[in-house]
Structure formats: C-alpha cells, structure tokens
Amino acid sequence: MSILEENKIDSQINDDFLESSLDEPISQTILRDVKMIGRDLWGPLIVCLILSVILSSKAADNQTQLIFAGVFVIIWFGAGVVTVNALLLGGKVSFFQSVCVLGYSLFPLVISALLCIFFRHIIARTVFVLVGFVWSTIASLGFISPLIPKNKKTLALYPVFLFYFTISWLILVN
C-alpha cells in the first residue's frame, strides 16, 4: 500500500474512534465509569442478599432477623477480615478486588442453598453443600494464592477455607 493509503486508513480509524468517545454525552461516560467500579460490588451484594434471605427464611420465628443480619455481617466482615489478613501477611492484593472475588466466589454456594430449599433429605443436602464448598474454595484460592509470599501461603489460605466452611455449614444445618 502506498503511504497515502496507509494514512487514509489510519485517519479513518482515528475518526471512528474519536467520534465514539468524544461525541457521547459526558453523563454517559461518567455512568460507564461508575458502572465499571460499582458493577464489581453489586454482584457480591446480590449474592449476599440472596443467601441472607434463604437462610433466614427457614429459621425459627424469633431468630429470622438475627440470622439475616448475622449472615450479612459474616459475609462482609468475613471477606474483609480474610482480605486484611492476606494484606498484613504481605500479600500484594487490592482490598476491593479481593473482597469482590470472595463475594463472587460465593455464587456456587448460593446455588447449593437454592437446591437445599427443594431437597430436604440430609444426604442430598450434604452433597450439594460439599460440591458448592469445594467449588467456591478452589475459585478463590486460584485468585489469592499467587499473590502471597511462599512461606506464608498456608497462613493466608486457611482463613479463606474457614470463611467458606462457615457459610457452607450455615447452609447445611438450615
């Protein structure tokens, strides 16, 4: 291709791109940015709400509110504590990113919880919860494990295991 033709193609690509980002209204740009950040926290929030509702719906009448609030606290506080622990041990991970990953990895357990509503038999529930637990744990281990110095890996990963164990057990005995 001649140089003129190359320039023409480049400037066409330029124009297309410039048009797309500069011509849209500022509100759209801001909204897109907010969604990019905020979207990351909506997911775990929805997961948390679903779990809290499921677990508190089957509770004793006088404990419904306690369990709802309790599950909420356990999930957010637990994710925060696990993240802070990894940070204090020298892990290189951003706080929000880690909380998001831990929240998203709860999704398999949400599926288990939903299944447990319909199948009340103890063995089926154990299987569902076990599968959900293993799946969730492996999902988040894959994210956190490479970011921790080698000699402290077990110390950083044990709380993750504990976190999902607590939630799995709450689903199981519900």
Partner: protein
Amino acid sequence: MSNQSNELSFSSPFDQDENENQQENEFGSFISSGNEFIESNSHSPKQMKGFGNNSQNLSDDLNIPDFNPELELNENFDPLDENAPNQKRKKQPFWTLSYYEQYFDVETGDVLKNVILSCHPVKGVSLEKLDLFGPFWVTTTLIILMGSLGNFSSYINSLKKQEEEVGDWEFDFRKITTASILLYSYVFVYPIAVHFIFKFVSKIEIKIFALICIFGYSLSAFLPASILFAVPSEKSKWLLLIFVSCVTMLAILSSLNNNYNTENSHKIQFYVLLGGIGVVHFIISILIKIWFFEGN
C-alpha cells in the same frame, strides 16, 4: 517512515521509544495506554504509569521509586538512626493498619509450634516473636467450631430425648454471637485490663500483645475438646473440661512466670495475680461448657 505501521501491535510499556513515537498517533496512544492499564494490574512498580500520557511528570507522580536519590547525596545518613528522614521502616501510629504488620511476621511453623506449646504445662507459649495471627484465627476457629458443634450436641440431645419429631430441633444462631462476644473479649479486651492490673499492683510491665498471645493460644486446646464434647455422656464432658482447663491454665501461668517473674519485691502480689488469672480462666472454661455443650 518508521513511525506508522498498519499492524495493530500491542506495545509494551517498557518500549519507551516506541511509545513516545506513537504519541503523535492518537489511536496508537490509546492502544499503549490501554495496554498500560492491562499491564498495571500486575502490580509491578515499573509498570505503574499514567494513562494515555507518557509525559515525564505524570509517570513520575505515579511511579513508586525503587531507590531514594537522597541516599547517595546525604553523607550523614545513618541506617540505624530512626529519626533520619530516609529511614524506610518508620514506626507507624497504632491506629494505622501498617502498624500491625509487625505482628504478622510469622510463618506456618511458628504458629503451629505455639499452638502445641500452649498445652505444655511447664514451658508455655514462646513470647519471642509476638504475633496476632495465631490468637485471632485460633479464637475465630474456636467460635465457629463451638457454634457448629454446640448446635450439633443439642441436636444429639434432642435425638436422645425422642419426645417429639427431630424436626423440632432448631438451629440456634445465638450460639455464634454469644461465642464471639465471650471469646473475643477474653482474648482481646481482657488482656488490656490484666496489663493495667499487673502494672499498678505488682509494678511489672507486661506487653498487651504478649498477653493477647498467651490467652489466644491457650484457647487452641479447646479446639479438639469441642470435637470430643460430642460424646453424649455428661460425666465425660466434665472430666474433659477439667482436664483441658487445668492443662491450659498451667501453660498460661508458666509462660507468665517464666517471662515476667523477675522482681523480688512484689513477688507475693505477682503470685496472687497469677492465681486470679487462673481462676478467671477456669470460669471461662466452665462457661464454655455450660453455655455451648449442655448435657442431658
């Protein structure tokens, strides 16, 4: 002309020259800044650059310096001088998070060693390397275990009674909340009181974090005990409780005695306070048994 090319090649941020050439091309700078965005997620300090603009000022602002140029110029620099401006490890105030990093400087082996030592009636916990990781996670694990196994033991009891259907057994979430309040205050709030009592009564200064270590690790013997509490016999529960309580109490008192029994003038007060600590520990153990592992 070497500046422009048809291929959509991703330039690496390390290629300074290529990036600067592509500044003239808006599209090229978008690609390189997008690439930098992707690369910056790998958290390497060298790659933390500004977006879209490779001007020296912006990248200098965001760059984490690998070395401090002042180090070479300042002839009076003393690495041991804590007041020097270039000292890297500054003592942070205790309300910042990085202050607590010094208490997480442990490895798996250290934590396991302390867990085992907490059951040793003569040696007690080693206080050379104070850490917060062990006490906090042992306490949290115990709370979760007590919450779950406490409910499990009440479930077994309801099975034994067989008065109504088993479905009447309800999961008691309050066990978790009570366990957290009891154990977290015993490990994190009670040491503050102990520190001041020792200070005023026997004039001995015991670091708060050392006390947190001692009390936190002492709870680790209750972890296997919680599992053994599943045995439905009331007698075995009390025997188990007394055994575990005495072993851990001795370990607590030993570690305090070994490390802080130096002053000759206030020895009587010291021993009285040790006795008080033993009594409190025994009371906590009894509460654990009564509130969470009720018998038939």
